[in-house]
């Protein structure tokens, strides 16, 4: 628990808030702005707005954002003698890995919260849509946060291994591209084992684009539950892997 608290204290002085706030707002601005610039109305109200905001965001900006956050969380440990100080603490590698992962999970959840809030504000203030964002998209948002977890855990491991800030982000972009390719090719079995594919697929739930059948049905809900289960398993594997590597590489 102390490691988790320490990570949140470190985050206070970082620029993580910039990623958490600006990236989702850029997605909302881009999705909503493109609709305004194209002069086309929102044919299906909230559904069309959600689709335009979330689908592109899930193709790679979200994965790149999570990768940037992971680089940010590990950045302090690569400076000066901080890595030695980290490893000299009387805590296990698992505790350090879980602390980093918990901070990342909180940031990705906050990022999704900003996206939902931004979409609601755009829908109401810019487009004057009636009611509010349908509840199903709030559930999809929870699914997106769960699907972010294995990407966060994997990127945390990569950022632990790479001193550079940009290199893990480039790997994240490559992974996102590979993940989208698997989803587009409907290679479901392989996609279930690739964190980036799960993330991309989660952002498409209920939109009807790429591999998604459209409105969420009972079968779709079962698929979503399977996606969440796969995400949790991959998360556990990635965190355990990060901890195991950290135990064996105590000097940067």
């Amino acid at each position: 628990m102390g490691s988790v608290r320490a990570e949140f204290i470190k985050l206070r002085r970082s620029l993580s808030w910039a990623v958490v706030v600006l990236l989702p707002l850029a997605a909302v601005g881009s999705g909503g702005g493109n609709t305004a610039l194209s002069g086309e109305p929102l044919a299906d109200g909230w559904h069309t707005l959600w689709l335009r905001v979330v689908v592109f965001y899930g193709l790679f900006p979200l994965a790149v954002g999570v990768a940037a956050l992971a680089s940010l969380v590990w950045r302090a440990e690569h400076e000066g003698g901080n890595r030695n100080a980290l490893m000299a603490r009387p805590v296990s590698g698992l505790e350090v890995a879980v602390g980093k992962f918990a901070a990342l999970a909180a940031l990705t959840a906050a990022m999704q919260g900003v996206l939902v809030a931004g979409t609601v504000v755009a829908g109401k203030a810019v487009y004057g849509l009636p009611g509010s964002l349908p509840a199903e998209y709030l559930l999809v948002s929870v699914l997106i946060v769960v699907a972010c977890l294995p990407v966060a855990a994997l990127q945390s491991g990569l950022s632990m291994l790479m001193r550079s800030f940009g290199a893990p982000v480039a790997v994240g972009l490559l992974g996102a591209g590979f993940g989208v390719l698997l989803v587009a090719l409907r290679a479901d079995a392989l996609a279930a084992a690739v964190p980036y594919s799960l993330l991309s697929r989660a952002t498409q739930v209920g939109t009807g684009v790429f591999a998604d059948p459209g409105p969420i049905t009972a079968e779709g809900a079962a698929d979503a539950a399977g996606l969440a289960a796969a995400a949790l398993v991959l998360t556990a594997v990635a965190v355990a892997g990060t901890a195991a590597v950290l135990e064996r590489r105590d000097v940067a």
């Binding site: 620029l15 850029a26 881009s30 702005g33 493109n34 610039l37 790149v64 940009g166 591209g177 390719l181």
Partner: protein, 253 residues
């Protein structure tokens, strides 16, 4: 001295793994362009019918793939190439060796820029070859293709110069990478903007001006690249880069 500085930048790239990042850029752009075109509904028929402009569809797909991937990866290349100086006290070392920060930045642009030019030409060539292999029967629009490739090269170099200066001024790599990610959203918005508005968001908006063909419901409508605007961007980028690097020379370490 400058030649040595550029050679030194190439030596630094070995450990910075710039080559794999450039390879990701080339392969990613090629794959995305081909995927967009070859999975387009009815492409097989379109490839046999010159009247339906199959090359325009491929060029439009290339025009979509380049600005989606280049902003982030160019930001990564630039930030890695400059961060090594922040991390290892390279600015001071270079200055004591007679190489001012401004000249070091210019050497970095010459070295990374040559790779970016090669990558841009290569990805354009690979996409054209893929079109031929896919059986497109229409005559290859060489002038349009080469012109668009040249203009995209100018925009890529302007963006690279911007990121090099940004990385030199701001040691926190998050700022450079963040600008790259935000640039993708600007590019996306620029594709829907009228040309006059896209000109106001340099350098990202100029991708839309360099390759204005758009993928529509019935193939791609060919557009006329705004060559003069892109050339002016290139000239402005040169002037700003030279001024910014000269300013770096007057800055205290």
């Amino acid at each position: 001295m400058t030649g040595r500085a550029v050679a030194n930048e190439f030596a630094k790239m070995r450990r910075l793994r710039v080559a794999p990042v450039i390879a990701v850029l080339v392969l990613g752009v090629t794959a995305l362009s081909c995927l967009t075109t070859f999975t387009y509904p009815g492409f097989a028929d379109m490839a046999q019918d010159p009247a339906r402009r199959p090359w325009s569809l491929l060029l439009a797909s290339l025009g979509l793939a380049v600005p989606l991937l280049s902003p982030v990866l160019l930001a990564v290349v630039a930030s890695r190439q400059v961060d090594i100086e922040h991390q290892g006290g390279g600015w001071l070392l270079a200055r004591t060796s007679g190489l001012s920060p401004g000249r070091l930045c210019r050497a970095k642009l010459a070295a990374t820029g040559s790779l970016v030019v090669a990558a841009t030409l290569l990805q354009s060539l690979l996409v054209a070859v893929a079109g031929v292999l896919a059986g497109i029967m229409a005559p290859f629009p060489a002038a349009l293709w080469l012109g668009s490739t040249a203009l995209v090269t100018v925009v890529n170099l302007a963006l690279l110069a911007f990121h090099l200066i940004l990385a030199a001024r701001v040691p926190n790599q998050l700022v450079g990478i963040g600008a790259g990610v935000m640039g993708v959203f600007v590019v996306l918005a620029a594709t829907e903007m009228p040309a006059w508005l896209a000109r106001l968001v340099p350098p990202w908006g100029y991708y839309a001006l360099a390759n204005p063909a758009e993928v529509g419901t019935d193939g791609a409508a060919p557009g006329e690249p705004a060559a003069l605007s892109v050339v002016l961007l290139g000239a402005a980028a040169c002037a700003v880069f030279l001024a910014a690097t000269a300013r770096l020379d007057r800055q205290e370490a």
